[in-house]
């Protein structure tokens, strides 16, 4: 690959010819891309409202290569950002300020599986679902199951502390990470935690998980494996009103039942999902709950019966039970691919990720409906109800700038309401760049100072994933970017 004058001038801000030559000597022509049309793919993740192309994308195949690129960035003071599959929804891997994107998708080996000791060691580019498929038949699985699990990587899950439907019972990513090998921004390789439990000192593994790529690059993850449930029952409860559905959720949790998963889909989503998958959802229902209980064969029927009784008492007009593994799989396919079906409803959508205490679900859902009406934005809902983790999906056409403005206003109102109800602005998608401006609503100056100090311990020069997670003097959230780069909004 040769360096053209055009490229040099475009990269003048940070990435010069000398840097690129050195980078090419590390990665060769197949381990690096820098043509503008190729870089376009990397201009954003699942959060498409803000975009920026990196100057160059590299594809390391080993920890050594990651060390080399990180050292080179330190030497030339070029910012870098790690990236998995780019499925995150908050702009966590947006290359703010350009620089080098370190794509970890070629580091995708499953290095070790140890069933007796309940762990696996994987490279960060291993796709979440591939690990579970690899374990099929062993009686064990990797529990965190984000809806994007067919594409998202374990490294990305590690960076964002991903959730998923079954985290209600089994916990989120951090509850399943035992250790990691990381490359710090100074190029040092450090093993945090590992296959044995309770390694002494601070739980840097736990701190690193969810740091959204701002501490360094994870190059190897040791994950906990979980026994497969002996049995499960999957139920579909159909409601004529959203309020009855959300109240039933509170009743189930309040009764001391911890289902494996408890998901809600409202009418708008049911319509799209039914058109896509023909499951047989009732199109006139206001909401359905998808509920799964798992455990021992001797216990699951009792739990399922209790849940059916609670739903019926709560006004469910019908509670169905999946009769075969195939039917269960189809139900979960409908749920997990609901986002894909939204294309039938609207050219663009913006998914929000608030959390409220579970007893506040009826209140927040009514608020969301009112916000949608006030801003004339259609909002549909599919979410992890059992955790109180809402996902209102705001439908719009990004070619209409007034609609975009209304979507952003409505989103912010919903998230501020979540805070008011005692919740959070993100349950599993992360802060990224999208929600930086909301951080000071959740945390005060001391909290943010301490978080900055923590980042300083890992990433003192700030070259790794700059301008993410924490509000920084001189930088703002998306409003600023929207004004500065209105043309960077693009179709989904």
């Amino acid at each position: 690959m040769t360096t053209t004058d055009h490229d040099v001038s475009r990269s003048a801000a940070g990435v010069g010819a000398a840097f690129l030559t050195r980078l090419e000597s590390i990665f060769g022509e197949h381990g690096l891309i820098r043509q503008p049309e190729e870089l376009l793919v990397y201009e954003c993740d699942g959060y498409v409202i803000e975009k920026n192309v990196p100057d160059v994308v590299v594809f390391p195949e080993s920890t050594e290569q990651v060390v080399k690129v990180v050292n080179l960035c330190a030497e030339f003071q070029v910012p870098f950002v790690p990236r998995g599959a780019g499925t995150s929804l908050a702009g966590g891997c947006l290359p703010v300020g350009g620089g080098v994107m370190i794509s970890l998708t070629r580091m995708k080996r499953i290095l070790e599986v140890n069933l007796r000791d309940r762990y696996a060691v994987v490279e960060p580019g291993v796709v979440n679902l591939h690990l579970t498929q690899h374990l099929k038949g062993t009686g064990y699985h990797y529990a965190p199951d984000p809806s994007s699990q067919g594409a998202c990587t374990i490294g990305g899950n590690f960076a964002t502390n991903s959730g998923g439907p079954h985290t209600l019972k089994y916990g989120v990513t951090v509850n399943h990470v035992l250790g990691a090998e990381v490359v710090l921004p100074d190029g040092s390789v450090v093993q945090l935690g590992g296959a044995v439990e309770d390694t002494p000192g601070y739980d840097l593994t736990g701190l690193f998980v969810g740091s959204e790529g701002t501490f360094g690059v994870c190059t190897r993850v040791t994950v906990r494996l979980t026994r497969d449930p002996a049995a499960c029952r999957t139920l579909l409860a159909v409601f004529n009103s959203v309020r009855e559905a959300t109240q039933s959720i509170s009743q189930i949790i309040g009764a001391g039942i911890v289902p494996a998963a408890l998901e809600m889909m409202d009418q708008g989503i049911i319509e799209a999902v039914e058109a896509a998958f023909h499951f047989g959802f009732p199109l006139d229902a206001a909401a359905v709950l998808l509920i799964e209980v798992d455990g021992l064969e001797v216990a699951v029927d009792d739990e399922a019966r209790q849940i059916i009784a609670i739903c019926q008492a709560g006004g469910a007009r019908e509670v169905r039970q999946a009769n075969s593994p195939r039917e269960r799989q189809l139900l979960w396919k409908c749920r997990k691919q609901a986002f894909g079906a939204i294309g039938r409803l609207s050219p663009s959508y913006c998914t929000q990720d608030g959390v409220v205490p579970r007893t506040k679900l009826p209140e927040i859902q009514e608020f969301i409906t009112a916000v949608g009406q006030r801003h004339a934005i259609r909002i549909v809902n599919v979410f992890h109800a059992g955790d109180g983790n809402i996902h209102p999906i705001l439908l719009f056409d990004e070619r209409d700038s007034d609609q975009v403005r209304r979507v952003l206003e409505a989103s912010e109102e919903i998230l501020l309401k979540c805070i008011e109800l005692g919740g959070s602005v993100t349950g599993e998608h992360g802060i990224g760049v999208e929600k930086i401006s909301l951080m000071h609503r959740l945390f005060d100056a001391h909290d943010l100072d301490v978080m900055r100090s923590v980042r300083q311990a890992f990433n003192p020069g700030g070259l790794c994933s700059p301008m993410k997670m924490l509000p920084t003097a001189g930088a703002c959230g998306m409003e600023h970017v929207m004004q500065k780069r209105p043309g960077r909004r693009a179709a989904l």
Partner: protein, 417 residues
């Protein structure tokens, strides 16, 4: 408000605000070392203090701040005793699913700071899985918080994780929000004594694919088995190595698992097998939790190895005359040295084969308790990995004047500033 200038050795703040002012005044003024304490059950953990300072007790910060039981979370101040917390939760048929010994004394803040756990960690995890929000005061007197009051939350860095197990070196924990679990309707333990440890090892391998889902997999060598049976007031066969398996759930679920475990273990020919039910099981759970408590033994350690190595490690320790209990499903082995180890040199030579073992096994051995004058002669936290340099950086970022438990993790280091 007490003044730092006053010759006090213990300070008991009554509100977090008062604590902040006091810490700020100390940091700006005398800069005396501060040693936070809860129930004082684990003060021997880590390197001893090099300089006299002020003991900061959270005893008066013990309120229940918010308990929305139907959300299955609770927010409490850190000085609450574990027994008091359990009593509050029991009224709603809920619990914090972590075993903490000496619960009548131990506080939540202390349990978090020492990352305490017990037998049920096999099925239910440890405090890092349950602390979803935390408030603390740093060494400069700045209050800070992280996480929140909802069960799922990824906003900001997860400082809860940094504080769990931090031994009071990063901040004084003032309040925590916990994720709760429903209390199980019933529980039971299967106590099986075997002729040989190799049979237990094989049984543990079998249990990794058991049709049951145990909450605890405890390995007890005869010394520990005898002491635990006595503590529980139960007449249990304790002269042979014991595998003790705990299950919980609805009564018929518990009974089904006892039957199933009995038949799964049959192929390994247990010498004796007893199912411990109902109230007796509560006493046995209690004794299993309490045994790790330091009493008058000269030295107590915790080794972390892979679960598949736990039996071999336990055998090695047993041969050295060390009393051994292992959370075998987690590879956590707790050992109490007998009082024959009267000198540091004796302890050294006794522990040498175990240090060799953990090195070979890529595990680690932590000393939980030893006489203070031995501490600098023993690697209390094992061989220090490169991650320790990062930990030092974290400590100096959050406590730049090195005031909070200055030596506990890193030993005697020159104080900055």
């Amino acid at each position: 408000m007490p003044r730092v200038a006053e010759p006090i050795d213990e300070y008991l703040p009554t509100t977090p605000g008062e604590l902040c002012r006091w810490m700020a005044e100390n940091a700006d003024g005398e800069q005396r070392p501060v040693y936070p304490v809860g129930g004082r059950t684990a003060l021997r953990f880590g390197y001893p203090a090099a300089a006299p300072g002020i003991t900061l007790s959270t005893a008066q910060l013990a309120r229940v701040v918010d308990y929305p039981a139907r959300d299955m979370t609770i927010t409490v101040e850190a000085g609450i005793r574990m027994d008091d917390l359990a009593a509050v939760l029991k009224r709603e048929r809920q619990r914090l699913a972590v075993d903490v010994a000496q619960a009548h004394r131990a506080t939540l803040g202390g349990a978090i700071a020492t990352n305490t756990s017990g037998p049920r960690r096999y099925g239910l995890g440890t405090l890092r899985d349950y602390v979803i929000g935390v408030s603390a005061v740093d060494a400069l007197g700045r209050p800070f918080k992280a996480g929140g009051r909802v069960v799922k939350n990824v906003a900001g860095y997860d400082l809860c994780k940094a504080l769990v197990g931090s031994l009071g070196t990063l901040g004084v924990i003032t309040q925590a929000t916990l994720k709760l679990r429903p209390a199980p309707e019933a529980s039971a333990l299967v106590w099986a004594a075997f002729d040989r440890l190799s049979l237990i090892d094989a049984a543990l391998a079998r249990l990794a694919v058991s049709s049951t889902r145990p909450m605890a997999l405890e390995l007890l060598l005869p010394g520990a088995a005898t002491a635990i049976a006595a503590e529980a007031g139960l007449d249990l066969p304790a002269h042979r190595p014991v595998l003790c398996i705990g299950v919980e759930g609805a009564p018929h679920e518990v009974q089904w698992q006892i039957d199933e475990l009995t038949s799964e273990l049959a192929e390994f020919h247990p010498h004796d097998l007893v199912a411990v039910n109902a109230l007796e099981s509560l006493r046995l759970w209690f004794a299993l939790t309490e045994y790790q408590v330091v009493s008058d033994e000269p030295l107590t350690f915790q080794a972390s190895v892979r679960p598949s190595q736990a039996v071999e490690f336990a055998a090695c320790a047993d041969q050295l005359g060390i009393s051994v209990q292992a959370h075998a499903g987690n590879g956590i082995v707790l050992g109490h040295l007998s009082d024959r180890a009267t000198t540091l040199a004796a302890a050294h030579s006794l522990l040498a084969p175990l240090y060799d073992f953990v090195r070979r096994a890529h595990g680690v051995m932590t000393i939980l308790n030893c006489p203070p004058d031995w501490a600098h002669g023993l690697p209390l936290f094992g061989d220090l990995s490169p991650a320790w340099e990062l930990m030092r950086r974290l400590k100096s970022q959050l406590d730049p004047k090195n005031l909070l438990n200055p030596e506990r993790f890193f030993g005697r280091t020159p104080r900055d500033a």
